[in-house]
């Protein structure tokens, strides 16, 4: 029931939103819809672990062996919570943004993308998962192409085709697995039974799935679509892309790749971990060089996701716990960063760090909140990201799945230092120092921005100090998945 509601509410409200021809009403309607989803998500959380309301299994296309099967386990709960929390934050934070043309369509498309994202996190049937995986892409394509920056059409096109290639390869893998299920069904439990059946085929099947997820996360070297797309899309969409959509890639690996193809995951683990750490260092180094705020945050996102992917392949309980909580943390933190970028862009019409300076003198509220969000990005203790990263590092270091765990940990640690460099550098150049002509008349936060940033900072500090509820939520899922991943042929 609850999963169906989580998908249906944004879907129906989004479709209705196309017919609201007034921007103000559309904004209000979409905010209302997003709060409704948040309410349902919190309701679902309150129901505990084993309520029958947390799953639904409806017939869809029996001839193909696929059903509309959706369910909420611990990992699903946390990711749907992230989605449900993010969208109201995004809508409130970008309340003052103006969109040209038929702007009510913007809000409708955002709600449709929420429906698609929810569907990905809730699907318990492989073909349904594939459907939502693709469907999450279409509203984002139109959002970026209509309301993006100058080079939006090429950037979005590249993004779409890149992702589509990955998805199609994943489709081939899904069909292959389906053809080998004993009961000709796409249900996830049937796929779990395949661990005994598919032997050496796992070696190439792994790549069919992993390429799709690697493009989504993104993992070096399949990341080239990301900085351009993040830069060119409207900031609200960038928040959706980097806050929630990248988690689709991580989620895909944890739910659909690692437990179903454990031998392949183990065999290719070193290769993938190598790619991850190269990506982390590379992205951090490039971020240090960036002058454009958006691109800086984009590259920093690649580095953070790389660490999470590294921890997945470490196949330890600690690491996986870290991934679960860090997915939520990274979502909120990066949205916080994007809110600041959006603010700055709206006020000063520039994203170049070299053109800004001394904002703290004129906008102290903004400066304080941003510094806290940035410190969360660097994973300082007391922030939520510290909890996540500590668990991640712990997991990688104690990994028995690879013989290079020390190397990986050391290089990953290096990337943390690099992230401190570019984050603090950015804060110093943008907020501290002297004001220049552009920033001399900076205004401090408006009410809506204050509310969201305070909410985010509150979450950062709360989870940083008391992460137990979040960790408890995902404990069972982590156990199940690690057990499946440790299945040796």
């Amino acid at each position: 029931m609850i999963p169906v509601l989580l998908i249906a509410i944004p879907l129906v409200c989004g479709l209705v939103g196309f017919f609201i021809k007034n921007t103000g009403t559309a904004k209000g309607w979409s905010l209302f819809a997003s709060f409704l989803s948040l309410a349902v998500s919190l309701w679902g959380l309150s129901l505990g672990r084993n309520s029958p309301m947390l799953s639904a299994d409806l017939p869809w296309v029996p001839a193909l062996g696929t059903r509309f099967a959706v369910g909420l386990d611990g990992m699903g709960q946390i990711l749907t919570l992230l989605t449900a929390v993010s969208f109201p934050i995004i809508f409130i934070a970008t309340w003052r943004d103006e969109y040209r043309g038929k702007s009510w369509n913007f809000y409708a498309l955002m709600l449709l993308s929420q429906a698609g994202l929810m569907g990905v996190f809730l699907a318990m049937d492989a073909l349904l998962f594939y459907f939502f995986w693709e469907l999450a892409l279409i509203p984002v394509y139109f959002l970026c192409s209509f309301w993006g920056g100058e080079k939006r059409i090429q950037a979005t096109f590249k993004f779409f085709i890149y992702t589509f290639i990955g998805s199609l390869l994943m489709l081939v893998g899904i069909i292959w697995l389906y053809a080998h299920t004993p009961d000709h069904s796409f249900a996830i439990n049937s796929f779990y039974k395949l661990r005994t059946i598919v032997g050496n085929d796992q070696m190439w099947l792994f790549w069919l799935f992993f390429i799709a997820f690697a493009i989504k996360m993104p993992i070096w070297p399949l990341h080239t679509w990301q900085p351009d797309t993040y830069e060119q899309s409207p900031t609200a969409t960038t928040m959706v892309l980097s806050g929630i959509m990248v988690k689709m890639g991580l989620f895909g690996v944890i739910r659909w790749l690692a437990p179903i193809l454990p031998a392949g995951t183990w065999a290719w683990g070193d290769t993938v971990s190598g790619l991850c750490i190269v990506g982390m260092i590379y992205a951090s180094l490039v971020a240090i060089q960036q002058d454009d705020l958006k691109r800086l945050v984009a590259y920093s996102s690649i580095a953070h996701i790389g660490l999470m992917c590294l921890a997945i392949f470490a196949t330890t309980t600690t690491g996986m716990q870290g991934v679960m909580i860090q997915m939520f943390n990274h979502g909120i933190n990066i949205i916080g960063m994007w809110i600041v970028v959006d603010l700055i862009e709206r006020q000063f019409k520039t994203r170049k760090i070299s053109e800004l300076g001394g904002l703290a003198q004129k906008a102290p509220g903004l400066a304080i909140l941003l510094v806290i969000v940035s410190l969360a990005n660097v994973a300082l203790p007391l922030t939520n990201a510290f909890v996540g990263e500590f668990l991640l590092f712990s997991g990688v270091f104690s990994s028995t799945a690879t013989s290079y765990n020390v190397v990986f940990t050391a290089v990953a640690g290096l990337s943390i230092i690099l992230s401190a460099i570019y984050t603090l550098n950015m804060i110093q150049k943008v907020f501290f120092g002297n004001t220049n002509t552009l920033t001399a008349n900076a205004k401090d936060l408006h009410m809506n921005e204050k509310i969201v940033l305070v909410a985010i900072v509150a979450l950062i500090l709360w989870i940083g100090v008391y992460p137990k509820p979040v960790l408890d939520l995902t404990k069972d899922t982590v156990e199940t998945i690690i057990t499946k991943m440790n299945y040796k042929l």
Binding site: W60, V61, P62, A63, L64, Y130, F131, E134, L135, I138, F142, S145, F146, I153, F157, F160, I161, F164, I165, L168, L169, L171, V172, I175, W176, Y178, A179, L208
Partner: protein, 466 residues
């Protein structure tokens, strides 16, 4: 048998309609009535009521596969008549509309033969009955040089391929045990195949490859599709191509199914070439009409996947593909006919001027690209699924999927022109009936994409009575 006879008779009726009345709308109405009648009698055949007690001497076999294929193709033709029928008048000055409709009915007669044949001679007859009216329709814009060139090219290449097919048939006759044309007797005792038999199969493969525009026999397609009047290109690229494919599958499954390992690799290479050439060349086109011609070659490549696997999924899939592909392409061509400028720039800004047209065009393009929620997705799914189920040719599946990603590029170029570029798209006058019908067809494409169960039920029951 119902469909064959009724379509031939109605073709003659259409010719007389031309004498009786001059008004195009009356002729079109008669044609639509005839087509509905055709669908009805075909349905009666499906449910076992045969109107004509003619003994076909086993030369024709009216199984559910053939009759279902008929239904799908006739319904596609009905959509075609409703959407584009009135454009036939506008092809040329003093266009003999009734004769065009008559020719289309004769083509449908050939289609019914090709879907239900049981002997190679009937296949030949069906293919020729389809092709010859098409040569005429291609050249029907008599004052247009491109149309004349297209008709001559089509006629020469088509006749050549027919000659090749006859030689192949002769070889197969010679190679068969007791000298027979019946396709279910061709393969008997073919554990040790003779070179004559293989030569016959290859020649048939080449000639039918011509007809369905598989590479490397596709060179006539872009010029013919581009030169022919757009309204007839629409018919050729959809119903006719799908009909040839049904015949293709029928022949190779019944006739050469036993010797499949011999010719499978050859077909796989042809498929890969078709997918590659169709998709890559379409990327470089500047005219939407030519792009659609190359895209039809690429779609043919996907349909060839069914030929490689030839299992139950493949047969269901080819029917589903025929339905999805025909609906989407007929829709797109119907919109293309109304545009004044066939280049990509001609579509610039269409979303602002004609939002409904742009929206339905987008749905059709998404279906051709194989995006989930559209019928085209399930069609591609079936094709891929059928080959994966065989356990071999995985390289071909991955290649097909990469080519499908390439196809997204040129399909989305149209969407981009319509929505994201500024321009003044010139469109001919549209009636509300036309727009309403477009919405219905688009809704059908979406319905088949979300709830394909209705159609799939019928297809699955068919497979078990094959």
């Amino acid at each position: 048998m119902n469909a064959i006879i009724v379509s031939a008779i109605w073709g003659i009726v259409m010719m007389f309609t031309g004498i009786i009345t001059e008004k195009g709308s009356t002729v079109k109405a008669t044609a639509i009535v005839g087509l509905i009648l055709l669908i009805l009698v075909n349905y009666m055949d499906l449910t076992g009521h045969h109107l004509f007690a003619i003994d076909a001497h086993k030369m024709l076999f009216f199984d559910t596969f053939g009759l279902l294929a008929n239904t799908i193709l006739f319904c596609a033709t009905l959509v075609y008549f409703l959407l584009s029928g009135s454009d036939i008048e506008k092809v040329a000055v003093k266009m003999p509309v009734a004769e065009c409709f008559a020719l289309i009915f004769f083509v449908l007669c050939g289609v019914s033969l090709v879907t239900t044949f049981n002997t190679l001679l009937m296949l030949f007859l069906g293919i020729e009955i389809i092709s010859i009216p098409l040569y005429i329709l291609t050249g029907s814009d008599k004052r247009n040089l491109k149309s004349n060139e297209a008709a001559l090219k089509y006629f020469l290449m088509g006749s050549f391929s027919t000659g090749v097919m006859l030689l192949g048939i002769a070889f197969l006759f010679g190679a068969s045990q007791n000298g027979t044309f019946f396709i279910d007797d061709l393969g008997i005792g073919k554990a040790a195949v003779s070179p004559l038999y293989i030569a016959g199969i290859l020649l048939l493969l080449v000639s039918i490859g011509f007809k369905v525009s598989a590479a490397p026999f596709h060179f006539w397609t872009p010029d013919v599709y581009d030169g022919a009047p757009t309204v007839f290109t629409s018919f050729m690229a959809t119903v006719v191509k799908a009909a040839f494919f049904i015949g293709f599958i029928r022949l190779f499954d019944e006739g050469f199914g036993d010797s499949q390992p011999r010719w499978q690799l050859f077909v796989a290479i042809i498929t890969a070439a078709t997918l590659f050439i169709g998709n890559v060349t379409a990327v470089f086109q500047q005219s939407v009409k030519r792009m659609l011609a190359y895209s039809s070659i690429a779609q043919a490549g996907f349909m060839l996947l069914a030929l490689i696997s030839l299992n139950g999924t493949a047969k269901e899939g080819i029917l589903l593909y025929a339905a999805a592909y025909s609906l989407a392409t007929i829709g797109i061509f119907a919109i293309l006919i109304k545009m004044k400028d066939y280049t990509f720039e001609g579509f610039n800004g269409l979303a602002r001027q004609q939002p409904l047209l742009a929206a339905t065009c987008t749905i059709f393009l998404l279906s051709l690209a194989g995006i989930p929620l559209t019928a085209g997705f399930f069609a591609k799914y079936y094709m891929l699924s059928s080959v994966i189920a065989t356990g071999h040719f995985l390289w071909l599946v991955i290649f097909a999927v990469l080519c499908a990603a390439v196809s997204v590029y040129y399909y989305f170029r149209v969407i981009q022109a319509m929505y994201f570029k500024e321009g003044d798209a010139q469109v001919a006058d549209l009636g509300t009936g036309f727009k309403g019908l477009l919405v219905i067809v688009a809704a059908l494409v979406l319905l088949l994409g979300i709830f394909p169960q209705g159609l799939l039920d019928k297809l699955t029951t068919m497979v078990y009575t094959w």
